[in-house]
């Protein structure tokens, strides 16, 4: 088997002097953008749900529990198809029609972002809950005893501690999110994995294409893990050895 790495420098049929390398970078950009946008949703929504999971209020606890169970027990691929094919039919017609008239790439990106965001949110919810529950009960009691409202106790006492403790599991969720984003290729979004298949179709160089894409995913992983271990170092709580568990 002889490999030909120069294939990446050959001009791609999209014109404008673009090479296959430019295609690869375009795919990488979409993967990074998709992961970042989903991460914002996942972190915000997951944190709110995670707090609900520790609340004395039964209704809020119930909502968060149903959310976690539903989103953890349906395959990611099926969830993506629900966001992309099913939701536009079930939402009010005005919203559905607006979505169907979006340009296809935007529509696919939007569905993938929501899907990955809420899927990852369910996992972050459990991490946040574990982080809060790992704190000693005295913390909450002390906050309330000092005259804080429940909201203030969460904002000033529990959450600042919990988030610092759960940095390591959050890092692995971030890595998972980037890997999971490859599922967006199934609805046609040209992110990194889909770009890999397109490169094979156009260049007939399967080994070179897949190797490059695989290495890029590994590189993304290493960058995230490096960045998060720096965050972990900065956020470490003196006196706490391990994370909030999983």
């Amino acid at each position: 088997m002889d490999l030909n790495w120069h294939v990446f420098l050959e001009p791609a049929p999209s014109g404008g002097g673009a090479t296959y390398l430019d295609w690869t970078i375009a795919g990488l950009k979409i993967t990074v953008m998709l992961s970042m946008a989903s991460w914002v949703i996942a972190l915000l929504w997951g944190s709110v749900m995670g707090v609900f999971r520790t609340m004395p209020n039964r209704v809020l606890y119930g909502i968060a529990t149903v959310y976690v169970e539903v989103f953890r027990n349906i395959p990611l691929l099926v969830q993506l198809f629900i966001w992309y094919f099913v939701m536009p039919e079930l939402v009010p017609p005005a919203l559905g029609n607006w979505y169907k008239q979006l340009d296809p790439v935007t529509a696919m990106f939007l569905a993938s972002t929501l899907c990955l965001g809420f899927f990852t949110g369910a996992r972050i919810c459990e991490q946040v809950r574990a982080g809060i529950e790992s704190l000693s009960k005295g913390q909450k009691a002390a906050g309330l005893a000092l005259g804080f409202s429940l909201r203030q106790t969460y904002n000033y006492v529990l959450l600042p501690m919990a988030f610092r403790i759960i940095v390591p599991p959050l890092a692995s969720e971030m890595v998972n999110l980037v890997k999971n984003s490859a599922v967006a290729s199934t609805i046609g979004l040209l992110e990194l994995a889909a770009m890999g298949r397109q490169l094979v179709d156009y260049t007939a160089r399967a080994y070179e294409s897949f190797t490059a894409i695989t290495l890029l995913y590994i590189a993304l992983n290493l960058i995230i893990l490096g960045f998060m271990s720096w965050v972990e170092l900065k956020a470490r709580v003196p006196g706490f050895i391990s994370g909030g568990g999983r």
Partner: protein, 227 residues
């Protein structure tokens, strides 16, 4: 409001069941091979020999860094032609399901291995010392003393990982293998009822996974009490 029509589903049950059988086959094979291989990798990881342990760490880290879809694409690219060549099959032989089984087995082995390693490490070091003092070889100590205790502790985690595997098999969508979700998708497209079929598939996955994970959770709680 959307007009639901669920009538295509009862008619398609035999077709969907055929897909579910493929899903179950891939899951069971990948679970058995994955746990077997994962055990070997975990023991290698704990070896005192640096080369052996580095090989095992490299395997685990590589598979855990790459999206499952990429792994599947690699295997559908390489494995079919390899199997056809090794077993001297006709070029037209359908080895897609076998390729999927190989891919899932090797991929899951990396995840199982990490669980099993943690399980082995959770067994007290004195147990191995005692076994060696009784005159057992290292292999005997592992097989007869450490692994039975380790597996007992980690069975819930291995089962949870298997539920994830069951969900992940839907990703064979990227190939021509027709699993449960693939079958549902085909019926939905054919009858113009994609909305109903996707929702139905989601509901089936949810019921199976929710029931299994609830049972696993209960088992885990019982182990905790016993410990």
């Amino acid at each position: 409001m959307y007009d639901f029509d669920w009538s295509p589903i009862p008619r398609a049950i035999p077709f969907l069941w055929a897909g579910m059988k493929v899903t179950l086959q891939i899951t069971v094979v990948a679970m058995l091979v994955g746990i077997g291989l994962g055990t070997v990798i975990a023991i290698m990881r704990l070896s005192k020999n640096r080369v052996v342990s580095a090989l095992s760490a490299g395997y685990v880290n590589l598979f855990r860094a790459v999206p499952l879809i990429m792994v599947l694409l690699w295997f559908f690219l390489i494995v079919p032609s390899l199997i056809v060549r090794i077993f001297n099959l006709p070029r037209t032989a359908n080895v897609q399901v076998t390729s999927a089984m190989v891919a899932f087995s090797l991929f899951q082995a990396a995840y199982y291995a990490e669980i099993i390693r943690a399980g082995i490490q959770s067994v007290k070091a004195g147990q191995i010392g005692a076994a060696l003092a009784l005159g057992m070889s290292y292999g005997q100590a592992m097989r007869l003393v450490v692994l039975p205790q380790a597996f007992r502790n980690m069975t819930p985690l291995l089962l949870t990982q298997t539920i994830i595997l069951f969900q992940d098999t839907s990703l064979v969508y990227v190939s021509a293998v027709r699993d449960f979700f693939g079958a549902a998708n085909i019926v939905g497209t054919r009858d113009g009822r994609i909305v109903e079929l996707i929702l139905f598939a989601g509901a089936v996955y949810f019921v199976i996974c929710f029931v299994l994970s609830t049972l696993v959770k209960r088992w885990q709680d019982r182990l905790k009490v016993a410990a």
